[in-house]
């Protein structure tokens, strides 16, 4: 369980696994931090964030997008990620695939997370420009797919 940085000609990819959806999201985010900085300092305070989106995949995308946004706004590299909870839509889901429909506001997935923000002036960090949907994969792992574990693959633009 955890992440690996994978080769990609121009960019960088993170492959991650976790024993829950929360764990795999946090592992991808830790991969993003590792791709940004080789030696992460121990400084900085923890902060919380919340994200909502219309599907699991969109939630992963928006979570990583939010972390990159917060990095620029706070001038801190978010590290040591914890995803406290991921809740499926509370309202009845009207879409065929059970992943929620877009944009009606009542059936969104919700994520609560926290991270430690290392001040950028404490570290040598490189800019990851953005999360991409290219080749993105988020699916159940394990042979029968029901042991609760997940795997993810995300390409970031450098």
């Amino acid at each position: 369980m955890g992440y690996e940085l994978r080769n990609h000609t121009a960019d960088v990819a993170v492959a991650a696994t976790g024993d829950s959806l929360e764990a795999v999201f946090a592992a991808v985010a830790d991969g993003l931090a590792a791709a940004s900085c080789d030696e992460i300092a121990g400084s900085g305070d923890r902060f919380s964030l919340s994200v909502t989106a219309e599907s699991r995949e969109a939630l992963l995308f928006d979570y990583l997008d939010e972390l990159i946004y917060l990095r620029d706004i706070r001038s801190e590299l978010p590290v040591d990620h914890r995803v406290e909870s991921i809740e499926p839509p509370s309202a009845s889901d009207r879409s065929d695939d059970g992943d929620g429909a877009a944009g009606d506001g009542f059936d969104e997935w919700q994520l609560e997370a926290s991270a430690r923000g290392v001040p950028l002036f404490d570290i040598d960090a490189r800019e990851i420009k953005a999360v991409t949907y290219s080749e993105m994969c988020l699916e159940r792992a394990g042979t029968d797919g029901d042991d609760g574990s997940w795997e993810a693959y995300v390409v970031f633009d450098v």
Binding site: V12, Y69, D72, V155
Partner: protein
């Protein structure tokens, strides 16, 4: 027929340096790759060919999806890709522009020679590094409130002129005179503006850099003279884009397309190709937001050039005007523009969204959109190379309108991933070798950046430019070689 087998994808040779992947399955047009066999051998090593083929699935794609000689794998659309999508019945794709909207290059001339600079290299590289913000969290040259960001988004370099960061002549030597019409600041999200406001006038990191260079060769004396270039002259090249503001704008619209145009998205083989149908509100909104981000990037490069002039004034104790530090040209290489092109056998004129992602506009002599200063010789094209290989200045070639919708390459093109580069090179060694063997002075925020951008991770820029020149899409004018390089 001569063919080239790229591990399962067969390319047919149309003529020298022009290869075609025939239309098949859901492809709407064939894909073309402009390359020598030497470059094709490199291009086939990653997913470039698959990605250029995927691009042919976009509605309204016209003639061919085209991969430039420096093409390499990107996300969705390959880097080095050109796709002309019908502006009436087609679509516009943020992923086919790229995250770094109006990533591009500008070159500034000087009247200094290499001899004038020798002995000052260390001072120059240190002073540039100290004064031009780079890397993550390095701030910008200007810290702006929201009103200022909106003005920059709306007016581009005209804002810089009014605020003392530019002279009128700078505007005359920039693509679109430094101001994209149809910019819509209100279509750029607050998040994007918040990211951008502290980054106005900053290089960022990755492959972006500022380089002091010397002109080593002038291949075409007449065009060289028109561009004001001669051998041994010192020039400055600035390569960067729209920073967090552009990156956020791209992602904002990718997500909106996903939410509003799922039907179109479902037809595409890669979600990153997400496109808004021409004529939709979202297509208009993205085009307005992208044009605003283009203006932001031009101001970004303008402020860095302004700061560079100040650094040269201090180091050489002369005014920048005395050193004739004039802008040669500024051109984008991540952009979509509504342009009119002649298409089809009957010579029909059509409005197209020409997407150039890692590709440079290269309009030939006489084209009305080439700035008047260069209309007789053709638009300047600036091709940055790697730290150890030098760069090129080309001019738009006379075959570019027929072959590539008026486009050519944008750089050397990467050969090796960043992770592999860090395994093979150590930043300290690369820096030392460049200094000892080639007298190139490099300073970066991070040694890892130097390793990732080591000369060995790039394709042979000479071969890329040779193919462009042979095809007549971008003709060789001059070559430059680095003296000092700063990066994030």
């Amino acid at each position: 027929m001569t063919t080239f087998d790229a591990d399962g994808i067969t390319l047919e040779r149309v003529r020298e340096y022009v290869w075609e992947i025939p239309q098949d399955g859901d492809m709407r047009v064939p894909a073309r790759v402009l390359a020598s066999e030497e470059l094709l051998e490199e291009i086939k090593e990653d997913k470039t060919l698959e990605q250029i083929t995927n691009t042919t699935h976009l509605p309204g794609i016209t003639n061919h999806a085209i991969c430039m000689p420096d093409g390499h794998q990107g996300y969705g659309f390959p880097v080095g890709g050109v796709g002309a999508l019908d502006a009436e019945n087609g679509c516009i794709s943020p992923g086919a522009v790229g995250y770094d909207i109006n990533c591009g290059v500008r070159m500034m001339r000087t009247n200094l020679t290499y001899d004038d600079v020798r002995g000052h290299e260390e001072e120059l590289v240190e002073s540039l590094f100290a004064n031009v913000p780079s890397g993550l969290g390095g701030g910008g040259i200007v810290e702006a409130g929201v009103d200022t960001v909106d003005e920059i988004l709306a007016r581009g370099v005209d804002w810089a002129l009014e605020n003392g960061y530019a002279v009128a002549d700078d505007l005359r030597h920039c693509e679109d005179e430094g101001m994209r019409e149809g910019a819509a600041p209100d279509k750029v999200s607050q998040k994007a503006k918040d990211r951008g406001k502290n980054q106005i006038g900053s290089l960022g990191s990755g492959n972006h850099f500022l380089e002091v260079q010397r002109v080593t060769d002038v291949f075409d004396a007449d065009v060289g003279e028109a561009f004001g270039l001669e051998e041994d002259q010192i020039v400055v090249l600035i390569h960067c884009g729209s920073r967090g503001l552009g990156h956020q704008t791209c992602n904002d619209y990718l997500r909106k397309i996903e939410q509003q145009h799922q039907g179109l998205l479902d037809q595409l083989p890669d979600k990153e190709l997400a496109a808004a149908p021409a004529g939709s509100q979202l297509a208009a909104d993205y085009y307005g937001a992208m044009n605003a981000a283009i203006n932001f990037a031009w101001v970004n490069r303008q402020l860095i050039m302004h700061r560079t002039r100040q650094v040269f004034e201090r180091v050489f104790d002369r005014s920048w005007e005395e050193m004739e530090m004039d802008l040669l040209y500024d051109v984008a290489h991540n952009i979509a523009k509504k342009e009119t092109h002649t298409v089809g056998a009957d010579g029909e004129e059509r409005e197209l969204y020409v997407h150039r992602k890692g590709a440079t506009r290269a309009f030939p002599a006489g084209h009305p959109e080439v700035p008047s200063a260069y209309r007789e010789v053709g638009q300047p094209v600036i091709i940055p190379g790697s730290m150890g290989a030098g760069s090129y200045v080309l001019r738009g070639g006379e075959n570019s309108m027929d072959l590539t919708f008026g486009s050519t390459a944008h750089g050397a093109g990467r050969l090796m991933s960043r992770t592999q580069a860090k395994d093979e090179f150590w930043g300290g060694d690369v820096k030392q070798d460049l200094a000892d063997q080639q007298e190139i002075h490099v300073k970066a925020q991070s040694g890892a950046t130097i390793a990732e951008e080591a000369p060995g991770v790039y394709k042979d820029v000479d071969e890329v430019v040779r193919v462009s020149d042979e095809l007549g899409i971008g003709d060789k004018v001059a070559r430059t070689f680095p003296v000092c390089n700063i990066k994030g």
